[in-house]
Amino acid sequence: MNEHSRILEREKLEIAETLRSSDADLRLPAMVPREPFPIEPLSPDARQQTRAVGQRVTRPDGRLHGLGQTKYIDDLSFPGMLYARIKRAGIASARIKRIDTSAAEVMPGVMAVLIGKEIPTNTFGPTFQDQPVLVDEVVFHAGDGVAAVAAVTEQIANEALDKIVVEYEPLPAVLDPVAAMRGDSPKVHAPDSNIYATKVVRKGNVEKGFAESDRIFEGRFSTQMIEHVSLEPHAAIADWDANGRLTIYATIGRITLARSDMARTLKMPMSRIRIIGTIVGGNFGGKNEITQEPALALLSKKTGRPVKGVFTRGEEFTSTTTRHPIIMDYKTGVTNKGRILARQIRLVLDGGAYCSWSSTTLGKACILSPGPYKIDNVLAEAFVVYTNKTMTGAMRGFGAPQVCFAYESHMDDIAKALGIDPLEIRLLNAFDEGSPSPTGQVLHSVVVKETLRKAADRFGWEPRS
C-alpha cells in the first residue's frame, strides 16, 4: 500500500467514525460499565458532615397543604358512596349472648349491617393474629367493634347503631398488668397465659455486682398510656367492584402489610386487592396496621357501593393502638464514688387486649433499659401482658422513651443520695467510643459525653453543691 492510499484509507475511517458518533449523545453505552455501582459503599466517616447538612429544603407537598388542596381520605368521595359506623362494645370483658340487628336493618337509609361472624377470617395483627375485626363471641376491651353499619348518611348510620341490641354476659376483667401475670388471674385470651412475650438481657453476674457494691438503690417508675392523636382520624374507603376486585383507599403507613392482612381476613387472593395509601394526616406509629378496612370491604361487597369509614375522635382513643404503659423496677449497685457495678431491671408492659407491635416494643425497651452506661453486670427482664384495655402498639421510639424516663430518674435519685452532681455521675458512667452495649454490640460514633458537656455548657448547668 502506497502512502497515498493509506491517507485515503485513514480519511475514510475518520468520516465513518464521525458519522457513527454523530448521534452519540442519544445512544446508550454499548456495554454496561463493569462496575455499575461502587463496590465499597459510599458512607461518610462517622461525624463527618456532608454538604447537605444545614441546607434547607421545602416539602414537595407543602404547596398543596397550604392551599388546602391536599386530598386526605375524608376529602375524597365517590358516586353512591355510603358511610359506615361501628358499634363499640363499651364493656371491658364480656361474652356476647345475642346480637339483634333487625331493627337497624329495616331503617330507611341503612344499606347493610355486618357482624363479626360474617368475616371470613376474623383475626388479624402484625405480630400475632389475635385481634378480631369485629368481635363475635368475646369482647376483649371496651373499644372493640361489635357490628358495623353502612348507610346513606353518617347520621343515619349513627342512629342505626343505637338500634342494634347486644346482650352481654359480663366476664371478670383484667386491668392491672402485674396482677395479670399471676397464675390465678383471669385470662384475657383463654386458656393461654396473659404473658405473651418476654425478653431477657443478661450480662455478667448481677448478684456478684451487688455484693461488691457500696450502696444499692431501688426504684419503681411507671408511665401512662398515650394516644398518638394524629390530627387526621383513621379513615378508609372500600370499593368492592362487580369483578370481585377490591380497592381500599386508606390513611395507612404500611400498604403491603395492610394488603396481606386484608387478603387473610377476607380469604381472597392478594392479587385482587389494591391498597391506595393516600397522604397521611399524621401517623406517629398509630396508622401502621389495618383497623376497620375489612369491615368496610365487606359492607361494600354487600351493597355494591363504595363505603367510607372515618373514626370519631373518641374512637381514636378507645379503639386504636396507644403507647405502652410500663411498670419499671430498677435496682442498681454503685460504689460510693458513683460508679455503677450492677443493674437489675424488670419491665412489665401493659399490652392491652391485642399484641399489635408489642413484641417489637418489648425488645427495644428491654435492650435500652440499662441506659447509655458502662455496666458490667446487667439483668433486664421484660414481660408484656394482656389486659382488658385499649391495645397498645407502635409509637415513636417503640418503648425507648419510657425506659429513658425511668433510668434517668433513677440516676438522679442515686446522684442525690450520694451527693454527686447529676452531670458528673453520668459522665462517670456514660458509654465511650467502643463501649459494648448490654447485648454485647460494640458501639461506634459514641458522643454521649460530648453531648452532655455541650448541652450543660449551652444551658448554663453549674454543679449545685
Binding site: 407537598d61 388546602g68 375524608d74 394524629s230 390530627l231 387526621e232 394526616g281
Partner: protein, 171 residues
C-alpha cells in the same frame, strides 16, 4: 330543610340543608370546599377553622344557618390568580406544614390575626394559634411563619401606601 345563602370566598353560594347541618358540613359536602378539616367535631383541634365576618371560628361548632347572609372565607379563598397569599408562602418556606392536616385551620387563624394586627408579638401569635392543635411541628415553625408573613404583609402595605392607588385588599 333550611335554605342558607352566604358569601364564600367572594362568591354567593346557597344550599338547602337539614337544620342540624354545621357550617363545616355545608362547606365540605355542599360547596365541595374540603380544605377545612374535621379533626374532632367538638371544637378542640381547630382543623376546621374558617373566617366568618372577619373572625376565626370553629366551623364544626357553627350551624350552617348561623352563617346565613354572612361573609365566609376558607383556605381556598386565600390564594389568588396572582399567587400565594404571603401567609401561605411563609408557611411553605419555613416548613410549618408537615402532614398538613392542621394547616388550613392554622393558616386561617393566622390570617384572622394578621387582618387585625400586622405587628403581633410572639405571645399574640401563640394566643391566636392556641385553638389549632398540631402534632408534627411543635408550633415553633408556625410562629416563625406568622412572624415572617407579618413582615411580608407590612412591606406590602407600605408599598401600596406609597406607590399604588388604594386598592381593596383581598377578602
Amino acid at each position: 330543610m333550611t335554605d342558607v345563602t352566604m358569601t364564600v370566598n367572594g362568591q354567593i353560594r346557597s344550599a338547602s340543608v337539614p337544620p342540624e347541618t354545621t357550617l363545616l358540613q355545608v362547606l365540605r359536602e355542599h360547596f365541595n370546599l374540603t380544605g377545612a378539616k374535621l379533626g374532632c367535631d367538638v371544637g378542640d383541634c381547630g382543623a376546621c377553622t374558617v373566617i366568618v365576618d372577619g373572625q376565626a371560628v370553629n366551623s364544626c361548632l357553627m350551624l350552617a344557618a348561623q352563617a346565613d347572609g354572612r361573609q365566609v372565607l376558607t383556605i381556598e379563598g386565600l390564594a389568588s390568580r396572582a399567587g400565594l397569599h404571603p401567609i401561605q408562602k411563609s408557611f411553605e418556606n419555613t416548613g410549618a406544614l408537615q402532614c398538613g392536616f392542621c394547616g388550613p385551620g392554622a393558616l386561617m387563624s393566622a390570617k384572622a390575626l394578621l387582618d387585625e394586627n400586622l405587628n403581633p408579638t410572639t405571645q399574640e401569635i401563640r394566643d391566636a394559634l392556641s385553638g389549632n392543635l398540631c402534632r408534627c411541628t411543635g408550633y415553633t415553625k408556625m410562629i416563625e411563619a406568622v412572624q415572617d408573613a407579618a413582615r411580608l404583609l407590612r412591606e406590602q402595605s407600605r408599598t401600596q401606601l406609597t406607590h399604588a392607588p388604594t386598592e381593596a385588599t383581598a377578602p
